[in-house]
Amino acid sequence: MIDFSKSAGFNLIRRHRAEKRFQWAGRSAIFISLTFLVVMVGSILMDAAGTLRQTQIAVTVDLGPDAVDPDNIAGARFGKILKSALRAQFPDAKKRKEKKKLYNLVSPEGSFEIKRQLIANPDLLGGPQTLWLTASDDLDLFYRGKSDASLPESQRRISDLEVAWIDTLAQSGSLRRVLNWNFLTNGDSREPEIAGILSALVGSLFSLAVCFALSFPIGIGAAIYLEEFAKPSRMSDLIEVNINNLAAVPSIIFGLLGLSIFLGYMGMPRSSPLVGGMVLALMTLPTIIISARAALRSVPPSFKQAALALGASPVQAVFHHVLPAAMPGMLTGAIIGMAQALGETAPLLMIGMVAFVVDVPDSILAPATALPVQIFLWADSPERAFTEKTAAAIIVLLIFLIAMNLIAILLRRKLEQRF
C-alpha cells in the first residue's frame, strides 16, 4: 500500500517544522527591518510635532511718546520697553536673579518683534498696547508639558517662581499657541524658539542647482558618448570601470577631493554652495551616467536607424531623435541623483558648509549651510527644544525627498506607458 500522508516516513514532521522555522525567519527579518523604519520615522514625527506650534505670550508694552519717538521708531530702546513691561506685569520679581528669570519668559527676539510690529503698523503708537511675542523655549516646553514639573526644583530648567508666573499667564489668557511659520521663514539662531531652516534650505537649493547644472549635462554627455559613439577600446573600458568604482567610493573621499583641489588648489570660497554643489556633482555623476545609459538603451534602435536612413548624420540622429525619447528616463535618474545629493552631509562638512548661518545666502558664493548639515548641527545642541527642531528639519528634508522620488516614479510610469 502506497502512503502519501504525513505519516509516510521521510522524517516529514521534523522537516515541516524546519520549513516553518525557515519561513518564519524570513518573515521576521522583513518585519524587523520595516518595524525599525516605522519606529524611526514615527519617533522623529512625534519629536517634530512640538515644532508645529509656537507659544506666544501677551505683553502689554508702553508705546507712548516717552518710550517711542514716532519720527524715529527704529531708534527706540525696545529691550528696555519690554523689560519694564514684564516688571510691571509681575512686580514680585525683585532680586537681580529673579528679574533675569522674568525677562527669560520672552524670547531674546521679543524686542525685535515689537519693533517689527510697530514698523509694520505705526497706528499702535501712542499708548499701552498688548502685543503677542514669541515665548522662550523653556516656557514653551513647560507650557506644552514637556518639562517634568514633579522633579525637584534644582533638577529642572525652570524654577518654582517661573512656574507660578506661567500659571498666572495661562489663567489670564496671556499664552497662546500659533502655527510656527517662523520655522520655515527664519535662519539659524542660537535660540531654538526662533531658529528656522530657511537659510539651510536656500543653501541646499543653491548647492543642488550647481550640482544639477554640472552633473546633468556632463552625465548625459558621457552617457551619449559611451552608448552611441564610443568604439570598444581600452579607453571606453577604462571609463566604464571608473564609473562603476566611483559609484562605490565613500562620500567623504569626495569631500577630501573638494577640500584639496577646489579650496586648496583652485582657491574657491570656503563654505560656499558653489563648492558644495561641485562636490555633490562629482558624487552624483556616476548615478546620472548609469541611469542615462539605461534610458538610451531603452530607446528602440529603429528611431536612430530611421533618422540615418533619411540622411541625418549620426550626431543629428542622436540629438534629434534618440535624445528626446530618452529624456524622461534621464530626468528620472537625475532626480534620484539629486535626491541622494540633497541628503548628503559628510562631504559638505569638510568643505566648511558647517558655518553658523543666520542670513539667507544671496548667491552661490556666499557662506551657506545645507539642510542635512543643519540637522547635524542642531542634533549636537544640548537643548531639548533643539531636538524638536532637528526632528522637524528632518521631516522637511524627508518631505523634499519623498516629493522628488514621487516625481521620479511618476515620470517613470509615464515613460513605461510610452514604449
Binding site: F4, K6, A8, F10, N11, L12, H16
Partner: protein, 253 residues
C-alpha cells in the same frame, strides 16, 4: 486487463483564466512505459506535472477532478506533497544536475529524506543508483567531480540516477531526450526500457518515433483534450480518431 496504477478522471487544469486540460480521463498501468504525445501546448506536460503536483508551484494553477495513485487521491487534504514527490520522481527536459559533485547529486535525495543510516549504506546506494542508470562505469573514478562536467547524455542519466536513488514507484519524464544528440538518446532510451520492470514510467515526448520505440501504451493529447489512448501499437498503426492519424502522419503539429 491490468488494474490501473494511476487513474485520472475528470481532470481540469486552469492557469488563471486559461484552461490547459479539459476533462481528462486516463488510466496508466504499473510497470509499463506510457507515452504522452501531441503537439506543443497540448497539455501533455501539464498532465505529467499534475501527477506529482509540480503544478502547485505555479500560483495561478488550479486543479479540479480526481487523480489517484494506487487508489489514493493525491489531491486529498491528507496528502503531503513531500511524501508524494519522494515516491513519484521526475526527470526534466533539460539535464539539470545540481552544482555539486556527481556523488552529491545522487546522494541528495537520500540525505534529505534520511533514507540511509550509515555512510557505507549511502555509498552503496549511490553506487547502486548509478549502476541502475548505466552510468557507473563512466563515473566510478570521478565521483567527486562536478555534475556539470559530464556530457549532456551523461548528465541526463545522472538525473535519472538521482531520481531512482530515493526508490520512487513512478518516474515522470518530461521530454528527457529533447536536448540530447541521437547517440545519447539511444543510450537513455535503452535505459528507460530497462527501468520498466521496476518502475512505472510516464514519458512526455515530442518524437513519435521515440514513443513507438520505448512505450507500451500511448496517449494522444490535442488542445488540452485527451483524444485517444491505447496500446502503442494500435495507436500508431490503427488510430481510431482522425486527429490522431493526422498527427501521426504529420498533417498537424
Amino acid at each position: 486487463m491490468d488494474i490501473p496504477f494511476i487513474s485520472a478522471s475528470g481532470v481540469n487544469v486552469h492557469y488563471g483564466a486559461k484552461q490547459a486540460l479539459f476533462d481528462i480521463d486516463l488510466d496508466i498501468q504499473a510497470n509499463k512505459v506510457t507515452a504522452l504525445i501531441g503537439p506543443s501546448g497540448c497539455g501533455k506536460s501539464t498532465f505529467l506535472r499534475a501527477i506529482n503536483r509540480m503544478n502547485d508551484l505555479i500560483p495561478s494553477c488550479q486543479f479540479d477532478g480526481s487523480l489517484k495513485i494506487g487508489g489514493q487521491d493525491i489531491y486529498a487534504p491528507s496528502v503531503d506533497v513531500v511524501a508524494l514527490r519522494a515516491q513519484v520522481g521526475m526527470v526534466f527536459q533539460k539535464p539539470n544536475p545540481f552544482p555539486k559533485s556527481i556523488f552529491e547529486n545522487v546522494a541528495y535525495g537520500l540525505k534529505i529524506h534520511r533514507l540511509t543510516t550509515s555512510k557505507q549504506e549511502l555509498q552503496d546506494r549511490v553506487e547502486w543508483s548509478l549502476k541502475s542508470a548505466g552510468l557507473w562505469a563512466e563515473v566510478a573514478d570521478r565521483l567527486n567531480e562536478p555534475g556539470n562536467s559530464l556530457s549532456g547524455g551523461q548528465q541526463q542519466r545522472l538525473c535519472i540516477a538521482r531520481t531512482i536513488a530515493v526508490s520512487p514507484r513512478i518516474i515522470l519524464m518530461d521530454e528527457p531526450c529533447s536536448a540530447l544528440d541521437p547517440i545519447a538518446t539511444a543510450v537513455v532510451e535503452e535505459l528507460i526500457d530497462g527501468l520498466r520492470k521496476d518502475y512505472t514510467i510516464v514519458i512526455v515526448t515530442h518524437s513519435m518515433q521515440q514513443a513507438a520505440r520505448i512505450s507500451q501504451r500511448t496517449a494522444f493529447f490535442h488542445m488540452g483534450k485527451l483524444i485517444e489512448v491505447g496500446s502503442t501499437k494500435s495507436v500508431f498503426t490503427n488510430p481510431q480518431q482522425e486527429q490522431t492519424s493526422n498527427y501521426i502522419t504529420g498533417r498537424i503539429g
